[in-house]
Symmetry: D2
């Protein structure tokens, strides 16, 4: 490989974090970063800010913070920009989202009020239960892309940023398979010019970012940058991309639990997952087409982790059912209930029930931060195209064609940290005891 | 290292599995092995029998079964021997334990009836709520040790076994700290001769095994072989040992979940664990001294995984409470309920409740099998003393002095498999993507 | 009223219990009754067999068993008959249903094998996911009714029964509103002759029973006897009827919990109920039309109990959602999970989660017994038409036009017992302390 | 009886509500009443304020509010007084208790700040983990009683109140059985003069109230007024009393669920209840002696409801275990988890798990209000001594010697409402259908 970690570009300049969507997740993210900068909060949930990384043998006691070890952009250097169909500034949008309590939002109100959304590329065909007035007037998709590119350049200039990253924090678009126009760069650009129906807004954002050399990550389950044309473009342009669908809530729990059962060779007969949630996301997912995208994103998880092809006796007949229910009484406070029917020695059944009273945006916000900083690091380190080592953050990790998605959060985490070790010029870990460690 | 894996002794001869204790766990283990041999069951829950091991890059598609890769003793070669204070044979003991249904026990009744317990070394000072007539008459502890050594030699001869392993499947003894007589081999042997009060029956079993060159593992939380004198003896005699306390039920879940939360840098404010169980184990743990041993074994888990010294903001104030309640209505079907108070971005609280309707002996039985086969492998591979790479199986892994216990089940599993790769002459895995993998 | 309790006909003769459907519920019911008669089981879950009834003031200590107080038909006098589309006898059907363990079924195998199903009136238009060969050949609905009447007469003769009752234990038919032909006796009989599409099999059974003077109860949510024409017919013919949908599982819990919250004036913002079940019933309910009937039956419960029209501040905005999921791993062992969002003083929210691991047929079987005996009692006591005092047993109690359904299980129970007191010639209870009791 | 409901004294004058204890419960109660008076909140959880009462047949549609039907003192007429060992005023105490959010407390801050606690009668022998400076100096218990009586008279004068009631909202005192000095009025008064150790502070409060003709209710499980001497005194002085231990949380749920299972004759093999709570109450209950009082209060519930003496087959072997755990992460937000092992037809087991995330003070506050108003009504209606019809509000209802406690919340509720009907000059309800109702 050609990772040139020593020549990673300076991280001194400002980094602009752009989010399509200025809703629950992005306002929680922005308010949090500013609160941390003002010493009012700690970056809980953020690996880049809080996690240490062990280097060498345990006895060496080298455990620097990741952010120091690989020279991540410090929070002080972050700037923010966003697009949204609703005209509310970040403060108003955060109040509406009702994730943060008044007492947590007020101390950064001045900062939040300054962030006004740029007009969005939007089309209700792709997100049925959402609408708003703050929408770009252009009718041609290539022109819309050009307008977004201009937005990016303007916002960088306006904020004095040297670099930028874009993280999709918008709503889930309707389910799509890639079509003809997604297969090559040329086809896609022709599609933009021809207003091809198969090109959804999130794809236009991803295209604009990549064209501008801006790393892109997709926090929702829709296609966005997950097709050949944009992968190729990202590769050609030296732009790292990653996706898709932030791994939070029930799927997070699933990718923690399933590897545990598998490590012990416990069989699984059934896994029933139901969710109740009452936020805008829940309302949008009440639309069957949007739900379909989410469902596909959530379902693959178990199969990939459990490898029923290797373990037919244990996992071949696993009955997996995922349900999402719009249930207004809770707002952003989602609840996921799982029933898992496991099987042990002599095929005796056992049951596990997990009730997770979580908060969607609270779990997602630090992922936005981590992805912004790590994609920026990747770019500065000369990486381009799909960053599989960031699978840790996604429900449905985007992988290079022919590769298998890795869903096991511990393997994902292990890979992430060993990749950081490599990027930082250290040796990867094998967790062998000293007496077995071939590296000694 | 000097592991000479190629010269691992032949695994053709018979292997005798000796269990102090012929109760719920050991009878479930034996009935299961025999059912598997007769084609009536599958070895669910056993890593040695069912798990594959990936060798090289994913694309190489080399995934042999572990048992084939490292030449484990096949089930056909296993013989069984046990000691118990109650005179019931394995069939009667299994019926009393009431773990297996009649329809699962009957098909191997003939085999089980043949297994009669040898008379036990027992003293009610160490296990208060248990008693029985089948006890050795000797009153001197060294003489008791000699009697056990003779039992071992006789049983090997009787069954035509070439090798043996011993797995403690007896009840939990009262809590003890190591004392003077546990510090050196000499002091311990003198203590045996002097009938030192500090020497509990399980220690006499462990001593007898090690003196006979028989690998020893401890499935309960009491001291047994977890002190300097026996560690040294094991090392000197080329005998692998491992312990302690089979990792099942609630602690198993804890070591699956906690690493997940930590990987995401989610804080934890409180973890409340309560258990209800109604088997003999539950009755014994109703005695405060026995419970104390269990409690100590269960409590260290979170601290070691979460490293509050590295992450004070996340885990320093974690309030961890473990309760065990004797509750007869359930018999062997234990239930563990956990409430976990986690904290995310901006210090917002979330809650997780886990209800695990498990079966103690069903979860423990395959661990007996795995430990027997892996300790035998270790011995044949020239290993001796504490086998930290078997931490995967224990609530409170026994480690070499100065080493830190590893409780994270995924690191334990990773280490176990990388150790097997080394023992099998392959390279350890780092989970790096090809483009980052320095080994290429 | 004209209840002539003293002249209730003799209960000495045999009572024939007829069940359309010889599946999980009816075979569990029959096997249970026979086991009780043979002294192998106790009639747990049956009010008629086990419950006492307090007469007079507490201090009088008069607490006879209900069955003795009102002279119910003793179990020894029960005979059984059934119709089913599948030809299995009761023993085979019970094995297939897999509710009872082998060891509980075998001791009554001889008795069960004797019960062969009569050929059924069936039409797949009404129950889509079921089929079988044991179906009556007649094509005209009136002729089918005549055939059933003949079955009843034959079976009574064959078993030497003096009286009979019929309890619908068949599958849920598709949802229907009453239509034209359900409005009068004449219209209904014309409809039978004309093969009116609106007349489902369960209605033909109910008609046949009522014409034969046989009391009828409906354990499923479909229309059956719940319309004007059959109510009128029952009234005219002196036949008691009751329905509908056995109150078991989650709805049982709901009608226990909701009256409790209401008694304390605790508000409810949301009630989310999900079910997982894997038996034939679950499969049938996977058909949206059948589910619709069930859903309607389950939904009304909360509204009627909570009276949002009287308590708008507490219950007007209650968000009630019921989900049923087919989930094969469990068989007959249904699981219902409820989340209830309640509100207290100063509008502070609280949550209750209820997880009910129940068994459908085990809960339903004693209801079949109670209804058979109580309907027979009602008939012997001169009652006719809808028996509202049996609401205790139903998810969706059938009531006389203009009456309000009562769902509160405690009011239902109270009414049931006060009705029995009246039928037995005693005074109803008011639960007043002596010093407040106006009756003294 | 001689209830002279028509001559109930005027309710026009002010009613002073006195609470020993100005902590979580009483400040939540006071803040709530004032918020309701200012139109900022609704009296959720209060039967006296929100519940209607059906009079006559359903068809008559007479459903007045209880408060109008029996002429309860309106909230506008309430005044407040309290004693506490800590000098904080009600506003400061409420902030410390941390039950109400800042935004709910601030709008009534002016009112709360005016309520200063009178100096308390306190002795740490009875409540070990509590202390404070605001304590009366007298050392003789009779003198302390006199001082409290003076406080009552002064506070009534100061607030211009015509009548008063006292509700114990203080901490749980250590467990006691009644002793010699509790048996007669004379012995008790002598004990006060002699500083008898057996007389705890809460008893001195109760004595003072009764001597002043002030109705008294006890919200905690300690003895207080639950012994012969004070019962007799209350009776002689025409003072209604009631107790003890507010029925909230887990016990509330238990008295809702158990009557439901019993109505259906479902057996119960085990009921395991565990609680985690982190407020001052939890800390105090961590003291084994205080817990003992609570445990006794909580344990009797099931036995009385289930009547194992009548139903040995169903409830004789019920294993009931209650655990309370101090767990700081939650503060006032208590959580109760119950596992219930029920048994149905053919002795098949089923399980129910209930997880109640409740708030102690939110559930208790409206009970303080109801008891104050209903005891005042009782007094005005000429009642005296123990008011069993108020059992609805208590975990351990105080009853006249020889009477059986009633724990079934539905019978309690039924009795409460029928008593109100009598007090309001109406007929009690029997819930009979019209055609069975002998009263017609």
């Amino acid at each position: 490989m050609s990772t040139d970690t020593k020549q990673a570009n300076s991280k001194n300049g400002k980094l602009l974090v752009l989010t399509p969507g200025l809703g629950a997740i992005s306002t929680t993210f922005i308010a949090g970063v500013e609160s941390i900068r003002r010493g009012l909060a700690k970056p809980i949930g953020s690996l880049t800010q809080m996690q240490t990384i062990r280097l060498g043998q345990r006895s060496e006691k080298r455990n620097p913070l990741i952010k120091d070890f690989v020279n991540l952009t410090p929070l002080e250097k972050l700037e923010f920009g966003a697009w949204d169909v609703i005209e509310d500034n970040a403060y108003e949008a955060a109040k509406l989202a009702n994730v943060l309590k008044v007492e947590d939002l007020e101390p950064v109100a001045d900062f939040m009020k300054e962030i006004e959304p740029m007009s969005a590329v939007f089309n209700q065909d792709y997100v049925k239960r959402l609408n708003g007035p703050n929408v770009k007037k252009q009718t041609n998709k290539m022109e819309l892309a050009e307008a977004l590119r201009e937005d990016i350049r303007n916002k960088m200039k306006e904020t004095g940023s040297e670099r930028a990253v874009m993280i999709w924090c918008g709503s889930t678009e309707v389910f799509q398979h890639p079509s003809e126009c997604h297969s090559t760069i040329e086809a896609f650009e022709q599609g933009l010019k021809d207003n091809d129906k198969a090109i959804a807004p999130s794809q236009i954002y991803a295209y604009a970012a990549i064209k501008e050399g801006v790393p892109y990550a997709n926090g929702a389950p829709n296609l966005s940058a997950d097709f050949k044309a944009l992968e190729q473009l990202a590769h050609n342009n030296g732009v790292p991309i990653a996706g898709k669908d932030f791994k939070t809530g029930q799927t997070l729990m699933k990718t923690i639990l399933a590897p545990g059962f598998k490590s012990r060779m416990l069989g699984i007969e059934g896994w029933f997952s139901t969710n109740i949630l009452g936020n805008r996301d829940g309302e949008i997912l009440d639309d069957p087409d949007s739900f379909r995208a989410k469902e596909v994103s959530k379902s693959g998880v178990l199969d990939t982790i459990l490898q029923p092809e290797l373990y037919p006796d244990l996992y071949e007949n696993l009955y997996h059912k995922v349900r999402i229910n719009y249930y207004p009484p809770r707002g952003d406070e989602k609840e996921g209930w799982d029933n898992i029917d496991i099987v042990g020695w002599m095929e005796y059944p056992m049951q596990i029930k997990v009730d997770f009273l979580c908060r969607d945006s609270i779990l997602a916000a630090p992922l936005v931060l981590d992805l912004a900083l790590l994609l920026d690091l990747a770019k500065r380190s000369g990486q381009s195209g799909i960053q599989e080592w960031l699978s840790f953050y996604f429900k449905s990790p985007q992988v290079v064609e022919g590769h298998i998605q890795e869903h096991d959060i511990f393997i994902q985490h292990f890979r992430l940290k060993n990749t950081l070790r490599i990027l930082g010029g250290e040796k990867p870990l094998t967790h062998l005891s000293e007496n077995f460690d071939g590296s000694h």
